[in-house]
């Protein structure tokens, strides 16, 4: 508490450094930051609130400018705009309370994100003007947001089914690819004989885009579903295998020596030295594999498989239901984003040792 008072006054860095006793992580960050002038602080506070007027502007524009096309369920867009703002303002209040208690992390985060959120609201405003209000943006190919919302809510059953189908296909292929990729990667990295036999296969198959195989796989596989799983797995397998081989062949022999001296057996060397050491590479390969898996999924669904989001998009387009098409595209965006974030989260957890996190 005493610390906060000190920090409120404008002091030079050298004065602030001699804080008696132990320093918390929070205080350390505060100390290391440059002191801001009161005017700058007031401006920062305004910036964190900018999303609110931006949202209000978008609402006013939506409400007062007359629509050019008929717009069903107009309130849905209003709710769509207001919910994120409400959440944001709640977080903002929490951040101010925490600020008062001396914890500025959340507030700083909001300060960092606020301009982006403001820009998103302004973008929505502009987009609404160009579509619903004037139709300047390639009507009818690009629908307005409320139209997309209506499409998504109207056809939610089908969308959900397609999403679940896509996810099942994606993860089935992905996990097969990762699993087999890990095994081949570790085997190749560990045994030069296996590497001798497998590497030509990798060299030939690897660089070919997975979509190339599609016609052949349609012929060879009993069902399109299993064929698609194979295609998705193939791309993932390639990325994970290459990354794992690299990770394992880069290990300093000294680690193996040290582990053997400490009583590790051959199998344990793989499990406790080779794999953890190759982990950064493996996870990188898994992220890359997910990228190629997503591409393969879309290609497979758009060209052959008669279900899933990719198929939904082509189907909606064929019937000129562009609002449904956009709804599906947005769902894909959300899913692929979520999957990437999940992988990133796993990577950060697994590689804490690599980042060199400071002690708390």
């Amino acid at each position: 508490m005493g610390f906060r008072k000190e920090n409120r006054r404008h002091r030079t860095a050298s004065e602030e450094i001699d804080i008696p006793g132990t320093l918390t992580r929070q205080q350390l960050f505060a100390l290391e930051q440059k002191d801001k002038t009161p005017a700058r602080r007031a401006w920062d506070l305004c910036v964190t609130l900018f999303p609110a007027p931006a949202c209000a502007a978008a609402l006013l524009e939506y409400g007062y400018i007359p629509d050019k096309y008929s717009n069903a369920y107009p309130w849905r867009y209003v709710i769509f705009l207001l919910i994120p703002l409400a959440v944001y303002l709640c977080v903002w209040i929490v951040s101010r309370v925490r600020c008062a208690k001396g914890d500025r992390t959340l507030y700083e985060k909001l300060l960092y994100k606020a301009p982006l959120y403001t820009a998103i609201y302004l973008f929505l405003l502009l987009f609404d003007v160009l579509t619903l209000k004037t139709g300047k943006l390639m009507y009818p190919f690009i629908p307005w947001v409320n139209d997309i919302i209506n499409a998504a809510l109207g056809d939610w059953n089908m969308l959900l089914k397609s999403t679940l189908f896509s996810l099942r296909l994606l993860f089935l292929g992905y996990f097969w690819g990762v699993g087999v990729g890990l095994i081949t990667g570790i085997a190749c990295g560990y045994s030069s004989r296996i590497h001798y036999w497998i590497s030509p296969l990798i060299k030939i198959l690897g660089p070919i885009p997975v979509a190339t195989w599609l016609p052949l796989i349609m012929l060879l596989f009993p069902s399109l579903f299993s064929g698609s799983v194979f295609i998705i797995a193939l791309g993932t397998w390639f990325s994970v295998t290459i990354a794992t081989i690299t990770g394992i062949s880069n290990i300093d022999r000294a680690y193996f020596d040290a582990a053997r001296i400490l009583g590790a057996r051959e199998r344990q060397l793989v499990l406790h030295v080779a794999i953890p050491h190759a982990m950064p590479n493996i996870l990188q390969g898994m992220t890359q594999g997910m990228n190629s898996a997503c591409i393969a999924l879309m290609v497979a669904e758009m060209l052959g498989v008669e279900a899933g989001l990719g198929w939904y998009i082509t189907w909606a387009k064929a019937w000129a239901m562009y609002n449904r098409m956009f709804a599906a595209i947005i769902v894909i965006c959300i899913i692929f984003n979520g999957v990437t974030r999940m992988l990133d989260f796993i990577r950060r957890r697994a590689l804490r040792w690599q980042i060199g996190v400071t002690r708390t």
């Binding site: 300093d252 000294a254 680690y255 020596d257 040290a258 582990a259 053997r260 001296i261 400490l262 009583g263 590790a264 057996r265 344990q268 406790h272 030295v273 953890p276 050491h277 982990m279 804490r352 040792w353 690599q354 060199g356 996190v357 400071t358 002690r359």
Partner: protein
């Protein structure tokens, strides 16, 4: 009590095939040694005299080209925790915390449960309890080497092999660590074999100093150090030992 341990090297030689040319390198030739429990043997020599190779042979990381290495008559066939080794680089596993690095050998042998108290005790001894959840990248060189030492000592090795363990440390940390290693050796009284390129260190720590020369690596001679611990680096006997070793390595004043 079991018999006191004897490590015997009988006409041991080690040759390496060269990578670039057809030739072979004679890293070691005709090494005969007998080392006993309770000794602290320092091995000094110019670079390329095979002193590290000798240590790796004893550790079981390398197999001799000819000759035999035996511990109480049993030939050495591979590495084992009772022949612990500390390297010049700490080689701590960067993905494990300090505590997990130290308990690594227990986990490898599935004996962690009964030895958890030991782990925390040794963390206490090396004064790194506060750092037990840190990763090696967050440690200083001296701390990392202390962890490496603890990781080896916790197996209670009958033979402790030290391959220039302090070579990468600064002078102050180095002198501190010398005393730490000595005090642990004096309580455990195992056979310690240390390779070093620092003659003072060899005399300060060893009960006997083995001097080696290169091309091919062989033993030039050995000098028992008859001084009481703790030793005084500037005493006249100490200086005399140093001159004697320098002479053997052809760095002495008499050579000029």
């Amino acid at each position: 009590m079991s018999d006191p341990l004897i490590l015997k090297l009988d006409r041991v030689s080690k040759h390496f095939a060269r990578v670039e040319t057809d030739g072979i390198t004679n890293a070691l030739e005709g090494i005969n040694l007998e080392l006993h429990e309770g000794e602290f043997v320092s091995i000094v020599g110019t670079s390329g005299c095979g002193k590290s190779t000798l240590l790796r042979l004893i550790a079981g990381l390398l197999r001799p080209t000819t000759g035999t290495l035996t511990v109480n008559g049993e030939p050495i066939t591979g590495p084992a925790p009772d022949r612990g080794m500390v390297f010049q680089q700490p080689t701590l596993f960067p993905w494990l915390t300090v505590e997990k690095n130290i308990s690594f050998s227990f986990r490898m042998r599935h004996k962690l449960k009964e030895n958890e108290a030991q782990v925390s005790r040794i963390l206490d001894v090396i004064k790194l309890t506060a750092f037990k959840d840190d990763y090696p990248s967050q440690l200083s060189g001296g701390m990392a080497q202390r962890v490496a030492l603890a990781r080896t000592l916790i197996c209670q090795p009958k033979i402790l092999l030290l391959d220039e363990p302090l070579g990468a440390l600064d002078a102050f940390t180095r002198m501190n660590m010398q005393d730490e290693i000595l005090s642990s050796w004096r309580t455990a009284r195992q056979l310690a074999i240390m390779v070093t390129h620092d003659i003072d260190e060899a005399i300060y720590m060893g009960t006997r100093v083995i001097v080696m020369e290169p091309h091919p690596g062989r033993i030039m001679g050995e000098i028992p150090i008859k001084l009481d611990y703790p030793r005084n680096r500037s005493s006249s006997q100490f200086v005399e030992y140093r001159n004697q070793i320098l002479d053997m390595l052809h760095f002495g004043l008499n050579e000029k």
